[in-house]
Subunit: 373 residues, 2 copies
């Protein structure tokens, strides 16, 4: 396998950057100066400033969730956001935040540490979901929004949205949690821990001191393949690929022979050059560290802080990484706290990635809920 890249992650064209003037205290220690929080918006904030929906992302996307006038490139949730779409920008002012710690405009390990004029790399402080939520909150403040119509997110973004509703209870009217959990399963930690170790074992990682345009691409590619394995489902692959061999076998011993191998290789290579390795390590670990119960001692005590009117929780039966019982748990405990919860268990076969793939089921669930907000 020959892999190389001279690309660095690119900030999308329509991304705006908020630079904080005050210092930013990290939850597990450390203070950042001149923190930047990247975001994009769709639709218009109404005169009452009460139609904003704040969207947090999974581990790897930028704030470019959908195309817009300034950037016609399709976003990572293109089918969901736009005029007449489930998250209808004729009705809502949608704001998507690039997570703190990421590499698409927000401050992270790949940013210059202003204190020393060099890249943070592993000197970036330990990152938590609470820090990502707090950075997103600065965007809300900067936009002059007192109360959000909804906070929403899938996967890591769902952890962030939940934390947001716990941390800023009077500023969130409704909540949408998608394929997420109150904490990681041991299985999910195992997968992510191995992905990080694969990256760190690539000599090109250089203990975090690789040059930004010389990413440890072999490690990133292998970790991405493991990601793809955990993001999708065995059922989907069996339907798509089965035991099918590729048409023409190369000469390399142990080279690609089956369609599933070609699929993994093709999709992992697409990822190369698109993400920073150290940022990946931080954001990945953040998902392991998260435990909503930390906000009160028990999950019940934590979710008792949530004061939203209505909550939509969506999960998928084929999700290996955030299994359905975790969304069921969130629904049960929130209901026990007196919240009105709509829980939707979908039959999608694309596993954790279903929210990106299954437009029909996810679009319908979000549209039905949002129409009444």
């Amino acid at each position: 396998m020959t892999l190389s890249s001279t690309e660095s992650p690119r900030i999308p064209d329509a991304t705006r950057i908020l630079t904080l003037s005050q210092s930013f205290e990290m939850r597990r220690g450390g203070v950042l100066q001149s923190v930047r929080v990247a975001y994009e918006t769709w639709g218009s904030l109404n005169a009452e400033r009460d139609n904003a929906v704040l969207l947090f992302t999974g581990l790897s996307p930028s704030a470019h969730a959908a195309s817009n006038a300034e950037d016609p490139a399709p976003g990572w949730w293109e089918y969901m956001i736009g005029p007449g779409k489930p998250l209808d920008t004729n009705q809502f002012f949608v704001v998507c935040v690039n997570s703190l710690g990421s590499c698409f405009g927000s401050t992270g390990p790949a940013s210059i540490n202003p204190a020393i004029g060099k890249l943070f790399r592993l000197d970036f402080p330990e990152l938590t979901v609470e820090d990502i939520a707090a950075a997103g909150h600065e965007v809300q403040r900067a936009l002059g929004i007192e109360r959000l119509r909804a906070v929403m997110g899938p996967s890591l973004g769902g952890m962030t949205a939940l934390t947001y509703a716990i941390s800023f209870p009077h500023e969130v009217k409704n909540l949408v949690l998608i394929s997420t959990a109150a904490r990681a399963t041991a299985f999910a930690i195992a997968i992510r821990s191995l992905q990080r170790e694969i990256i760190r074992s690539d000599p090109a990682w250089e203990d975090g001191f690789y040059r930004p345009n010389r990413q440890p691409v072999t490690g990133l590619c292998l970790a991405r393949k493991l990601g793809l394995i955990s993001y999708r489902s065995a059922q989907e692959w069996q339907q798509r690929f089965g035991h099918q061999e590729i048409a023409k076998r190369g000469g390399e011993p142990f080279g690609i022979l089956y369609e599933i191998e070609r699929y993994l290789d093709y999709n992992a290579r697409k990822f190369i050059g698109g993400f920073d390795a150290n940022c990946y390590l931080y954001l990945s670990r953040t998902m392991d560290l998260f435990d909503a119960a930390a906000h009160g001692g028990t999950l019940e005590a934590a979710l008792n802080h949530v004061k939203v009117q209505r909550t939509l929780i969506i999960g998928v039966k084929s999700d290996l990484l955030f299994p359905l019982y975790q969304q069921q748990e969130l629904a049960d405990v929130l209901r026990g706290c007196g919240r009105e919860v709509q829980f939707v268990a979908l039959e999608s076969i694309s596993g954790h990635d279903s929210f990106l793939i299954d437009q029909e089921r996810f679009g319908s669930a979000v549209q039905t809920f949002c129409a009444k907000l």
Copy 2:
């Protein structure tokens, strides 16, 4: 992570070696000379020579399936084999074969190629399950056994046992297939392909030219962790580890923090020095390549060759790698071919590895079946 090893895989003390005088033709091309097939035995062959049970192994074990007088070290299936145990050596003469291509006495990539006096390495011909079965058949012949009381195997060993019953239909009286399949799923191929790529991406692999006592231990360790993830189940780990942090965190960034990470690390390191990397690559690929339907065009046509009296098929609901529907398929098709099949679906929570772990359920199923043979 600092890993190193100066150990090479060790042939167990009680292992016998059969050296073939005739040349050995490999199914996909290539001819081997002076092939060695390693095996161990328990119990005694009776005067009628009709009480032998031939056992094939999963990917990584040696022929040392259980302790015996010459080697008191516990074997990989210690609970299953012995006097009064489910595979009762008061009744049966049990023979376990080290797979062709492995590194515990049988000829494989880590053996000297007698034609050139150097290690085979990647010059070893492509290895198939059919070759492993054929090598095992030489042991049967050498022991002067015309018909086996049973052929048995878990995982890769189950694929081998099935192939044996197809290839030598009149020499097998009964068949036991455990946590196995007629062919690999796309998911299983994905996992194994990634494991192989991880090993091949370790610079210490040196394109297969590492010294035998300088294995690519980092790659082997990472691949083993992925193996452990796929061999067990999310349910088991959730019960055992949940989100539990270790007592004392080291100083390394992204070092071990959760119990599940410590478990993976401990168990993967145990594997180091115990297996040869090139042998691993060959045996792993063998499982992808296998397709029982090749013996006739369809699975029905292939299994129509099987002439055994009775078949026991065991599967486990939590098995990710060989999901239960694959054992159900084998049972259905064999019944369709007129064979008498006992199909047992177990509730074990240890995934694919359950046959090694769940002594009670597996022991009971095998004991009940074998008592009537």
